[in-house]
């Protein structure tokens, strides 16, 4: 029986609000950030289109360096990180683990696809939060003792130092490096699934997709989005695990010195875009 003399615990009094904030945090800011983060990181592959603008070294690495330089030019970056990323991720993770422990997965008895995704959503959450912690601790907080090879990630040499962290040093892929790269592959794949499936369930939770048909349609959209993000995630991990740090360093220095600019537009291109004549 409810005890009316004592106020209910905080979690019970704000049960619905916390549930909805947990759902919201997974999409915004965390999900939106993951999309932009994978876009940035896969630039090590798609940045190869800038080969003519970054003549020295690996053009993908140069493009990635250009993206990182932009991020590090943002004002109050530490506040964006703490309040826009780390605290929302901690909130989503702590509540998520608590909520997940209230369920008892039963895919063995009821092996439906939806039920498998229920179980996988929880597994991907558990593994995903460990992976995110390792990722941030090693690369952002400088816990280099967790990096095989003990190299430090540096923002001004973003691509080459990331490649070394994934490969286990600067002399090609070592066995510990291969393990780290494989761990990244598993971690990002699970997180992409977690977001795509989370978007599907969130639409039911908030009441956007009510009928089974609407849920199937939105499921296709989520699967498409997940597939696209999976391509970006894999290309980023494979791109950095196979990147030659020396070639990356050449491109980074060219970009940092201003000798190469992936966003640079040739005057001739301005002229073709503006037939009136290149008024600046």
């Amino acid at each position: 029986m409810p005890d009316h003399d004592r106020p209910a615990p905080f979690m019970q009094r704000h049960h619905f609000l916390l549930r909805r904030l947990h759902s919201l945090a997974g999409i915004m800011p965390i999900g939106v950030f993951l999309m932009s983060h994978l876009t940035t990181n896969s630039s090590v592959v798609w940045g190869l289109v800038n080969a003519n603008r970054i003549p020295e070294g690996h053009a993908g690495a140069g493009t990635f360096q250009h993206e990182v330089n932009f991020i590090h030019s943002l004002p109050y970056l530490i506040l964006i990180e703490v309040f826009g990323l780390w605290l929302p991720i901690a909130f989503h993770a702590v509540l998520g683990v608590y909520y997940a422990t209230t369920g008892r997965p039963n895919h063995a008895r009821y092996p439906y696809q939806d039920n498998w995704r229920y179980t996988l959503q929880r597994i991907s959450g558990y593994v995903g939060v460990l992976f995110i912690f390792y990722h941030i601790a090693t690369l952002r907080w400088g816990w280099t003792f967790l990096i095989p090879g003990g190299t430090q990630w540096e923002a001004q040499y973003a691509a080459s130092t990331l490649a070394m962290a994934l490969q286990g040093g600067g002399d090609g892929l070592t066995t510990p490096g291969l393990l780290v790269s494989a761990g990244y592959m598993v971690g990002v794949s699970l997180l992409v699934f977690h977001l795509a499936n989370g978007l599907w369930t969130a639409a039911i939770t908030w009441g956007l997709t009510v009928t089974a048909r609407a849920q199937r349609r939105w499921g296709l959209v989520c699967a498409g989005l997940g597939a696209a993000m999976m391509v970006m995630a894999w290309s980023a991990v494979i791109g950095f695990a196979t990147l030659d740090p020396a070639q990356a360093r050449l491109a980074e220095e060219a970009v940092n010195r201003g000798h190469a600019d992936p966003a640079h537009v040739e005057p001739a291109e301005i002229l073709t875009q503006n037939p009136e004549g290149g008024r600046p």
Partner: protein
């Protein structure tokens, strides 16, 4: 041709000519002598005639008439619950071959067509066991009372004719009105857990059937007056937000009630109700 063995191993019963071939079906039954007592497995062999249309309850009656295990040991009759025998009351719901369903509509010819086939019977795991296959499902009734699953028409004077009901809306609600509170959706739900203590029933997850009934009564022209009260409960601990979207409920429902549609519709109503409460109260 008496006693001729046919292709699927069944034998014609000389004692019951004309009924068709009979076969032996083995029942593995999870037994329990009472609340809190340990469980054990016992096996029983039951003779079933081809085409007699026997269901699991008929076989349990044969076991009760001769409670001897397959190993020949004398035991107590297996206890079960039953009511209508036509899949509209939900009393005989049990776990048949690992899946929650009604024992009355579980036909032996479908489940065990060949001689020596085995059928596993367990009590539902989400409700306290009374004995053997009989469970105490009173938590579901408690939840329906918590959600005010009724139309408030009691009073001291005649209320006059009720509001007009649109046939289209009535058709939508009809599916939810076929719910017999059997508990299949709860047994299959990874979020719904056994709560033997009634004190926990007001904060534990209400489950799919209760959310379906919330939609049924909220959409009713008169019962809808209590919709805000029901949505308050849906926002509370154990309400709709505790659903994990595994969607097993809709797949095991014997009445094919669109329970996941109800969960999403109540989720939408809860979102709006929650926003109203947050900003206007």
């Amino acid at each position: 041709m008496p006693n001729a063995t046919s292709q699927n191993g069944t034998v014609e019963d000389p004692a019951a000519p004309g009924v068709g071939r009979t076969r032996t079906v083995r029942f593995r039954v999870k037994r329990c002598d009472g609340p809190g007592k340990p469980s054990r497995w016992e096996s029983f062999d039951v003779r079933v005639a081809q085409g007699e249309g026997a269901n699991i309850l008929a076989c349990l009656q044969r076991i009760a008439a001769n409670p001897v295990t397959a190993e020949g040991a004398k035991t107590t009759p297996v206890v079960w619950d039953a009511g209508c025998l036509e899949e509209v009351c939900g009393a005989c719901t049990m776990v048949v071959n690992g899946r929650a369903r009604q024992a009355c509509s579980a036909l032996i010819d479908t489940l065990a067509p060949n001689d020596g086939d085995e059928i596993t019977l367990e009590p539902m795991s989400k409700f306290p066991v009374v004995r053997d296959l009989h469970v105490d499902r009173s938590r579901m009734f408690h939840t329906l009372k918590r959600l005010k699953a009724w139309a408030p028409i009691d009073g001291l004077y005649a209320l006059g004719p009720g509001p007009r009901e649109q046939p289209a809306r009535q058709q939508e609600r009809y599916a939810y009105s076929t719910c017999m509170t059997c508990g299949c959706c709860l047994e299959a739900c990874p979020q719904f857990r056994l709560e033997p203590q009634p004190g926990r029933w007001d904060t534990a997850f209400v489950g799919a059937n209760a959310i379906g009934q919330t939609l049924l009564f909220n959409e009713h022209a008169i019962a809808g007056e209590l919709a805000p009260d029901r949505l308050d409960e849906m926002l509370a601990p154990g309400g709709v937000s505790d659903c994990g979207n595994a969607q097993n409920c809709v797949k095991v429902c014997p009445k094919e009630i669109p329970l996941t549609d109800a969960i999403a519709a109540i989720g939408r109503a809860a979102t709006i109700h929650g926003l109203k409460r947050f900003f206007a109260r």
